[in-house]
């Protein structure tokens, strides 16, 4: 009887500890930070992020979110310092840990070090490259393009799923960088690979191949003298007129990268059932909740001219994230099921010796069963691109963000944008609307 009493007196402590430590999912803890982001106060969001102090197995989340917030504050070098640390972290923790694997088998998936999904790892290089372009360091952006190529080749050697082994925008951006550096053959190859990646992705979700890419590909093929391929694609695209390489070299070009809203957020779906022997079994699986993104497209005007260019979606992170999770789901579900069985056995064994101990183990097992909802939450839902060829000179540009109903929701001015002959001028912007807090 004395033993029972001591077990009872310890019970509240155990409960309290578990409730404090294990129950809240990562995505729900991000809410206050998100609220500052939608209110366009990235500095305040960064303050909250620093207070959250994620480390150890969650350190990567901290680095990635910090990098994105610094970008929003126009601190591009600071942002890249975080991305470099993130790359090192992934390199170190990308291998399978024996202890974490065991813990994930016994407790839950969140006990593993977060290294991100392949698309998230690729996004690191994409945003690092955009930062370097913003800093006017095209050489360094090219380093990122080469690193992404190594990463994509590695992914291709490990995955059969077309969605997981290619990334259209990573290729497209690389091509733009190569072209800016006059690496014509590298640019042609990268444009071609981008086109192939868009085709591969369009099999998994609805996606339109950007018109600008079709023009880019035709221009480079034409310049490189790859006439058969050029004619075949020209027919396929239904495009017979494009700005030639020579014409474009006489001009400059403004390239606009627009990050739209916030990436989908992982939530958990939980089912609890009373099973054999009165035990409670709980299964928690993650799913993505798509957030409402601010604009449908944007228009870029030159000095109040009538003819704007319209941006196109070049990376649909919403869909890529969902399809990646769907591809990983069988493995996640299998691990969860194996864990429920193990947990059932441990509770049953404990219950054989003492009824109350069995109950206690069951309670602990149920409370610790949470889904892994960790993901890079400060990524946008999608990325838009606009290409605007212009004669060399200095321009004032106006950007108009347009919502799904066709209303202008926001305007931005770019003063004194310098366009140089044969070169590209890069502009980037991340716009998050308050609607991002709502689900789609």
């Amino acid at each position: 009887m004395h033993i029972n009493k001591s077990v009872f007196s310890g019970l509240p402590v155990v409960f309290a500890a578990l409730l404090l430590g294990g129950c809240a999912t990562y995505s729900s803890s991000f809410k206050p930070i998100e609220q500052e982001i939608v209110a366009h106060r990235p500095a305040k969001a960064l303050e909250l992020l620093e207070k959250q102090k994620l480390s150890g197995k969650d350190a990567l989340l901290h680095l990635l979110n910090k990098a994105m917030l610094l970008r929003m504050m126009n601190d591009y070098s600071g942002s890249n310092a975080q991305f470099e640390m993130a790359k090192k972290y992934i390199e170190q923790f990308n291998s399978t840990s024996v202890t974490e694997q065991t813990a994930s088998f016994l407790v839950n998936d969140s006990t593993q070090s977060f290294v991100g999904d392949p698309f998230e790892q690729i996004m690191i290089h994409i945003y690092a490259a955009l930062n370097y372009l913003e800093l006017n360091n095209v050489d360094a952006a090219r380093v990122e393009a080469l690193q992404v190529d190594v990463k994509l080749r590695k992914l291709a050697s490990m995955n059969k799923n077309a969605l997981l082994r290619s990334d259209p925008f990573a290729r497209y951006l690389s091509a733009i960088i190569f072209e800016d550096m006059s690496d014509w053959s590298d640019a042609t190859i990268a444009y071609r690979k981008a086109y192939e990646a868009y085709q591969a992705h369009s099999k998994s979700y609805s996606l339109t191949i950007p018109t600008s890419l079709k023009h880019d590909l035709l221009r480079m093929l034409d310049f490189q003298g790859l006439n058969d391929e050029r004619d075949k694609l020209s027919k396929q695209f239904g495009i017979s007129n494009w700005k030639s390489h020579k014409e474009l070299r006489q001009q400059g070009e403004v390239i606009l990268f627009l990050s739209n809203g916030l990436a989908p957020i992982k939530r958990e779906h939980t089912v609890s059932r009373a099973g054999i022997g009165g035990q409670i079994h709980r299964i928690s699986l993650p799913y993505y909740e798509i957030r409402k993104n601010g604009f449908s497209h944007a228009r870029l005007y030159v000095n109040g001219s009538e003819q704007p260019i319209r941006t196109e979606i070049v990376e649909d992170i919403n869909n890529i994230a969902q399809k990646t999770l769907a591809a990983n789901m069988p493995a996640i579900a299998a691990r969860t099921l194996a864990r429920v069985i193990t947990k059932h056995k441990t509770a049953k064994e404990a219950g054989k010796n003492h009824g109350l101990a069995g109950l206690l183990v069951n309670v602990v097992n149920v409370i610790t069963e949470v889904a892994d909802t960790r993901s890079w939450l400060t990524l946008p839902g999608d990325i838009h691109l606009g290409r605007l060829p212009l004669p060399p000179g200095t321009y004032n540009l106006e950007l108009e963000l347009v919502d799904h109903a066709g209303h202008t929701i926001s305007r931005h001015q770019y003063k004194d944008v310098i366009v140089k002959r044969g070169r590209k001028t890069y502009l980037s912007h991340h716009w998050v609307s308050p609607a991002a807090l709502r689900r789609k």
């Binding site: 470099e84 090192k88 390199e91 923790f93 990308n94 291998s95 399978t96 840990s97 024996v98 202890t99 050489d139 360094a140 090219r142 380093v143 080469l146 690193q147 190594v150 080749r153 590695k154 050697s157 490990m158």
Partner: protein
């Protein structure tokens, strides 16, 4: 009294645990700068030093130097280091590489060396300042700079082949010495480094 003793005991225990926990702190071991330490397989200080030294040694042994000296009555040529571009897969700090090259060239004593574009700006500012504030006998006049005869340019390239956790990194450093008078390339040097990196698939 009993309660106090118990408290002291608990505090001692906590202090003991805290010290135990602190055992795994940062360890620093000082090493010689010449020692080769490969951590990640990326381009490091050893690569930078080795490549710059070997390439400059090669550059100074070649024909162009003798030809120049013959034509100019034994005068040593003046060289300037231009841009060394990083076209590799890594964010290489080309500034330390340029510094290594400059050191190797100057220490050879075979050629004269002039300050690069960035450095010159500061020195010119100083001369303008001297013109206003320094004593006449210590003042350095403007328009006395030595124009370089040759410019050293270069690029670092890499080829990476990777399968799963295995990687072969191949670095190629190309340096070119160009005559400023007539754009003639008088020397082209090349140095290659190959590294095989194997990452572990398991950790604790």
């Amino acid at each position: 009294m009993h309660a106090l003793k118990k408290n002291i005991f608990i505090m001692a225990l906590i202090a003991g645990l805290a010290t135990l926990g602190g055992c795994g702190g940062i360890k620093v071991k000082r090493t010689d700068a010449g020692e080769t330490i490969d951590l990640s397989g990326a381009w490091n200080d050893t690569d930078s030093q080795q490549v710059s030294k070997e390439m400059i040694d090669d550059m100074l042994e070649q024909r162009w130097l003798r030809v120049f000296k013959q034509k100019n009555r034994g005068k040593a040529p003046t060289v300037i280091v231009g841009d060394i571009r990083n076209l590799s897969h890594e964010h290489i700090n080309t500034r330390t590489f340029i510094a290594d090259i400059e050191r190797a060239v100057i220490n050879s004593g075979e050629v004269e060396f002039v300050a690069s574009k960035g450095e010159r700006g500061e020195i010119r500012e100083e001369r303008v300042d001297q013109d206003l504030h320094s004593r006449a006998d210590t003042r350095k006049a403007m328009g006395q700079e030595i124009g370089a005869d040759f410019m050293l340019q270069g690029r670092i390239n890499t080829i990476i082949d990777a399968v799963k956790r295995e990687q072969v990194r191949y670095y190629q450093v190309d340096l070119t010495l160009i005559s400023l008078k007539d754009n003639r390339k008088v020397w082209v040097g090349q140095k290659k480094i190959k590294k095989h990196i194997e990452g572990s698939g398991l950790r604790f």
